[in-house]
C-alpha cells in the first residue's frame, strides 16, 4: 500500500495493518462484524503473493493458520462472538505449542448470537481465559482506525517475539466505522521476526528456551524434524506426562509473558496526573469517555481517563500508580472492573452497559459529578 492518506474502516485497517506487518496467510470464516477483514484479505493477499482461504468454519480457520505459521509465514484470522468461542480450543494449542498467530475478534453484543451488528465488550475475560488451562496470552485493543492499523504491526511483532497467539480486539463500532488514516512508508516501522535456531538440525532441541524463556522456532522443511504436540512435552517436544514436565513447561509459557509484561504494556493516560477520579475505559468506548472527562474538567471536576490498550497481560502498575478513585466504564456487566479492583487502593465503581451502544458522554458525566468537590 502506497504511503498516504486513506479513508478506511477498522476492518480494512486491521487487514491492511496485518499485510503491512508482513502477514501473508489468512484463513477465515465470514462473521459479522469481521467479514470485511476476510474480504479485504481475499482481494489484497494474492496481490502481494500471499494466500487467502475461506475455510469451512472457525475451527478449521485457526487450525490452518497455526499450520501455516509453522512453515514460517506470518498468519492471521478474524472472527467475532460465536466464532471466537469455536476457536478457543486451538488457541490453547497455539499457546501450548508456542505458535505465533494473530486472531482478530471484533466484539459484538453477546452472549450467543447476541447483537451481530452492534457493539459489545464482553470478550475481555474470554480473551484471557477462553481456552482451558492456566496460561498467559497477549491481547490488544485499539480505539480508532489509525490505531487499529498501527497496533496490528505491534500485534504481529509481539506474536513473533514471544511465540504466542495475540488476540487483537476490535468492537463492532470500530470494525465498521470509517476514519481518515495515514499509511506510513514501508521502511518506517520495525518488523520483528521470530527467532530462528542457531544450532544445526540434530543439535537443536525444538523447545529449548533461551535466557528470555523463548525457544527459537524452526520452520517445517528445514530439516529440524520438528515434533509439536498439545500434550505436555519436554524440550525435545516429546510428550512427557508427568507433574515435573507440567510444572516446567506451564511455568515457562506463563513466565515468558509475565516477565516481559512491561515491554508489552501500552496505556493511554489522559488528564490523570492530578485526577481525583479516573475512568477506566477501552476501545471506542474510551472516546465518549474522553468527551465526558473534558466536560467534567470544565465543571471543575478533576477527572481523567485511563485506557488500557494492552488488555492482557493486564497493565496493573498503571492502576497501582494512582491514588484516585476509579470508575470502570465497560460494555458488559463487569470484567475489567474486577482487575481494577484487584489493584486499586481506593473505591472502584462499575458503570456497566449490556451492549448495543457506547456509553453516552452524559452518562459518564453524571457519574463523575458525584466527585465534584
Amino acid at each position: 500500500m502506497k504511503p498516504g492518506y486513506y479513508f478506511w474502516s477498522g476492518d480494512i485497517a486491521a487487514a491492511e495493518g496485518g499485510i503491512f506487518a508482513g502477514c501473508r496467510f489468512y484463513a477465515g470464516y465470514p462473521i459479522t462484524p469481521s467479514s470485511e477483514i476476510a474480504e479485504r484479505m481475499a482481494l489484497r493477499l494474492p496481490q502481494v503473493g500471499g494466500k487467502f482461504i475461506e475455510m469451512e468454519d472457525e475451527i478449521g480457520s485457526i487450525a490452518a493458520i497455526i499450520g501455516a505459521s509453522w512453515t514460517g509465514e506470518k498468519a492471521m484470522t478474524a472472527t467475532s462472538g460465536p466464532g471466537i468461542s469455536l476457536m478457543n480450543e486451538n488457541i490453547g494449542l497455539a499457546v501450548m505449542t508456542e505458535v505465533p498467530v494473530v486472531i482478530v475478534n471484533a466484539m459484538r453484543g453477546a452472549p450467543s448470537t447476541g447483537l451481530p451488528t452492534l457493539v459489545g465488550q464482553g470478550d475481555f475475560m474470554q480473551a484471557k481465559w477462553g481456552s482451558h488451562g492456566s496460561y498467559e496470552i497477549i491481547s490488544l485493543y485499539p480505539s480508532s482506525v489509525q490505531e487499529t492499523f498501527d497496533l496490528m504491526i505491534d500485534a504481529f511483532n509481539y506474536a513473533e517475539k514471544y511465540r504466542v497467539p495475540v488476540i487483537f480486539l476490535l468492537d463492532a463500532m470500530l470494525a465498521h466505522m470509517y476514519e481518515k488514516i495515514y499509511v506510513p512508508s514501508e521502511d518506517s516501522v520495525e518488523r520483528i521476526e521470530r527467532k530462528k535456531p542457531t544450532k544445526p538440525p540434530g543439535e537443536q532441541l525444538i523447545y529449548e528456551p533461551d535466557d528470555d524463556l523463548i525457544p527459537p522456532m524452526p520452520s517445517i522443511g528445514e530439516g529440524y524434524k520438528i515434533h509439536a504436540s498439545g500434550l505436555t512435552h519436554n524440550e525435545k517436544g516429546y510428550p512427557q506426562l508427568t507433574a515435573e514436565a507440567q510444572e516446567k513447561l506451564i511455568r515457562r509459557i506463563n513466565d515468558k509473558i509475565r516477565k516481559h509484561a512491561e515491554e508489552i504494556w501500552k496505556v493511554e493516560e489522559y488528564r490523570t496526573e492530578d485526577a481525583d477520579i479516573i475512568v477506566v475505559a477501552m476501545g471506542t468506548n474510551a472516546r465518549t469517555v474522553k468527551t465526558a472527562v473534558d466536560e467534567a474538567r470544565k465543571e471543575g471536576i478533576k477527572a481523567g481517563l485511563l485506557r488500557p490498550i494492552t488488555i492482557w497481560p493486564f497493565p496493573y502498575k498503571y492502576i497501582e500508580k494512582y491514588s484516585a478513585d476509579y470508575i470502570v466504564a465497560e460494555i458488559n456487566y463487569g470484567q475489567i472492573y474486577h482487575k481494577v479492583r484487584e489493584y486499586a487502593d481506593n473505591k472502584v465503581e462499575l458503570l456497566p452497559k449490556m451492549g448495543g451502544e457506547l456509553h453516552k458522554p452524559h452518562e459518564i458525566l453524571h457519574a463523575l459529578r458525584r466527585y465534584k468537590k
Binding site: A27, P46, A68, K225, S229
Partner: protein, 284 residues
C-alpha cells in the same frame, strides 16, 4: 579371513524404516496386537520406495491411538487437536505447496469430530494424502462406539448392540471427488504399501482407509478375542473388487469387507494449483 557379512535386502529395508522412526521414543503406546504399527510400517516403506524426502514431508495427526503416529515418525510432525489434523495440514500445504503433506489419523478423529473438515478439504481437493486407520472404535478412551462402528456391534456405549449406522468412507470420499480412494486391511500389507506408494505419486486429496484390529477394546467384545482372530477375519472376509459399487463398499457387523483401489484418476487441479491462477490474476 573374516569379511563383514553383507546385509540382506530385508535388513537394509529395516535400517531405512528405522531411520524414519524416532526409535528413542519406543516402546510406543500401542497395545500388543494393535494394527496401527502395521499401517505405519507400510507408510514408511512406501515413503522409502517412492524416494520421498523425509525433510520435505510433514505428518499431521489428530487425537486418539492413531493420532500418536506423528510422535514416532522422524520427520516434521504434529500432534494437533481432536479432529483438526486436516485443516492444520491444509494450512501447511497451502502455505508451502512444495511439501509432501500426510495426514495420519483415526476414524473417530477424521470422520466424527473432524468430519466437516474432511468433506470440505476433499471438496476443495487439497493436495494431501489422508491415511485413515479404521478400527471401528474409540480405542484411547476405552472402546466407545464411533462413526465407523458397524451396526449391531458391542462397545462400551452400545452395550445392547450399536443402533447407529457407520460411514461408508470410500463412498463418502468418492462422492466428494477425491481423485484417489482405496481400502485395505492390516492383513493386506503389500497391497496397502503399494496403494500408499501409488498415492504418494499422485496429486490431490487422496484417501486410503485401512481397516485395523483393536483386539483390546473392540475385538474382545465382538467375538474376536485375539489379534490373530481379527486378522483371520480380515483374511477370510475380505474381497478385492476395484470396481465395487457403493453398496458393496458398505461394512456390516463381522461381514464382508470389500477392499481395493476404488478410484484413481489424474489431472484434477488441486486447490493449490487453482490458487496459483488466482495469484496470477491478482497481480495482472
Amino acid at each position: 579371513m573374516i569379511t563383514a557379512k553383507k546385509k540382506s535386502t530385508m535388513e537394509l529395508l529395516r535400517d531405512n524404516v528405522e531411520s524414519l522412526l524416532r526409535t528413542e521414543r519406543f516402546p510406543h503406546v500401542w497395545c500388543p496386537g494393535c494394527g496401527i504399527g502395521i499401517v505405519l510400517n507400510a507408510f514408511l516403506r512406501a515413503m522409502i520406495r517412492a524416494k520421498k524426502d523425509p525433510n520435505k514431508t510433514v505428518v499431521v495427526s489428530g487425537i486418539g491411538c492413531t493420532g500418536r503416529a506423528a510422535g514416532y515418525v522422524n520427520m516434521d510432525s504434529f500432534h494437533t487437536t481432536h479432529g483438526r489434523a486436516i485443516p492444520f495440514a491444509v494450512g501447511i500445504k497451502f502455505a508451502r505447496p512444495e511439501l509432501n503433506v500426510v495426514v495420519f489419523s483415526g476414524d473417530g478423529d477424521l470422520f466424527a469430530i473432524g468430519g466437516n473438515h474432511f468433506i470440505n478439504a476433499a471438496r476443495r481437493n487439497h493436495d494431501i494424502l489422508v491415511i485413515a486407520v479404521n478400527n471401528f472404535t474409540y480405542g484411547m478412551t476405552g472402546g466407545q462406539h464411533g462413526p465407523t462402528t458397524p451396526t449391531g456391534a458391542y462397545t462400551t456405549t452400545t452395550p445392547y448392540g450399536n443402533p447407529d449406522r457407520p460411514f461408508n468412507i470410500p463412498h463418502l470420499a468418492i462422492s466428494l471427488g477425491a481423485p484417489f480412494v482405496a481400502r485395505w486391511t492390516t492383513y493386506h500389507l503389500m497391497q496397502l504399501q503399494n496403494s500408499i506408494y501409488t498415492a504418494l505419486n499422485r496429486k490431490g486429496f487422496r484417501v486410503i482407509e485401512v481397516i485395523s484390529q483393536c483386539p483390546t477394546v473392540y475385538g474382545r467384545r465382538n467375538e474376536m478375542k485375539s489379534p490373530l482372530e481379527m486378522m483371520e477375519y480380515f483374511r477370510k472376509f475380505s474381497v478385492r473388487k476395484d470396481g465395487a459399487t457403493f453398496d458393496e463398499m458398505e461394512l456390516t457387523y463381522n461381514g464382508k469387507i470389500v477392499v481395493g483401489v476404488f478410484r484413481d484418476v489424474q489431472g484434477i487441479p488441486t486447490y493449490e494449483e487453482r490458487y496459483n491462477e488466482i495469484i496470477r490474476r491478482a497481480q495482472k
